[in-house]
């Protein structure tokens, strides 16, 4: 299945892309996305505690099962407002 990964702000700077389509196994979870990020830049390891994820524009926590067509946003610590 395919999911769309969107990186923002400092996560984009580290990962090197804004949006990318990722082919994942049918039973993929957020861990697959984490591994993909770590493989791009090991610097993401240090961010494990502070990055948040959103699936289809809703924050998610813990183990998340992904499905075909999901949009995963990688959300570094926010600083608006």
């Amino acid at each position: 299945m395919n999911v769309k990964i969107r990186l923002f702000a400092s996560a984009r700077d580290l990962g090197g892309f804004s949006v990318r389509t990722l082919a994942l196994p049918a039973n993929a979870t957020m861990e697959h996305v984490w591994k993909y990020l770590f493989d791009i830049d090991s610097g993401f390891h240090a961010w494990r505690g502070s990055l948040r994820f959103a699936v289809n524009e809703e924050y998610v926590t813990g183990t998340v099962n992904l499905k075909d067509g999901d949009e995963v946003s990688v959300i570094p610590p926010v600083s608006g407002g």
């Binding site: 969107r6 923002f8 702000a9 400092s10 700077d13 580290l14 240090a46 959103a54 524009e57 924050y59 946003s73 959300i75 570094p76 610590p77 926010v78 600083s79 608006g80 407002g81």
Partner: protein, 150 residues
């Protein structure tokens, strides 16, 4: 001004254009309101001990609008208020300019103050907007991540 909005609902918007604070206040005023409380967040000339030239805001626009809508809906549920408007800049905001304006109208001032404060505090926690601090020495950093120098 609404024509310059990137993404918006009527009362909650992101825009590149400077914020017309008087217009935002007019949007929430009503004969039923005895109070209007306004929060204006402005770009400060220093951050983490360094001299700031400007801030540059980025957002996950559609998600940011959804998150602000949730905050506004919760505030309207919790306090007796009439209208709430939230406007946030995108792109470069120079020192002294308003980066965010929140206006709350209510029958009574206590609720207007409380709801307005809650909205800005909540926005700072959850809304997917990021500011790039652009320093006078030419460097820049995403706020909140001092180890990631651009």
């Amino acid at each position: 001004m609404l024509a310059m909005a990137i993404v918006s609902t009527r009362m909650i918007r992101l825009q590149h254009a400077p914020i017309d604070v008087a217009e935002v206040i007019r949007e929430v005023q009503s004969p039923a309101s005895g109070a209007v409380n306004v929060f204006i967040g402005t770009t400060r000339d220093h951050a983490t001990g360094r001299s700031v030239r400007s801030l540059n805001y980025e957002a996950h626009e559609t998600m940011a609008l959804r998150e602000v809508e949730k905050i506004v809906a919760a505030a309207k549920e919790r306090w007796k208020v009439d209208e709430i408007t939230v406007v946030h800049r995108l792109g470069r905001v120079d020192v002294g300019e308003a980066s965010v304006v929140i206006a709350v109208s209510a029958p009574h001032r206590a609720e207007a103050f409380d709801a307005c404060r809650h909205v800005i505090d909540a926005m700072k926690q959850t809304v997917p907007i990021w500011k790039l601090e652009e320093f006078t020495d030419g460097t820049s950093e995403w706020s909140g991540q001092p180890s990631t120098e651009v």
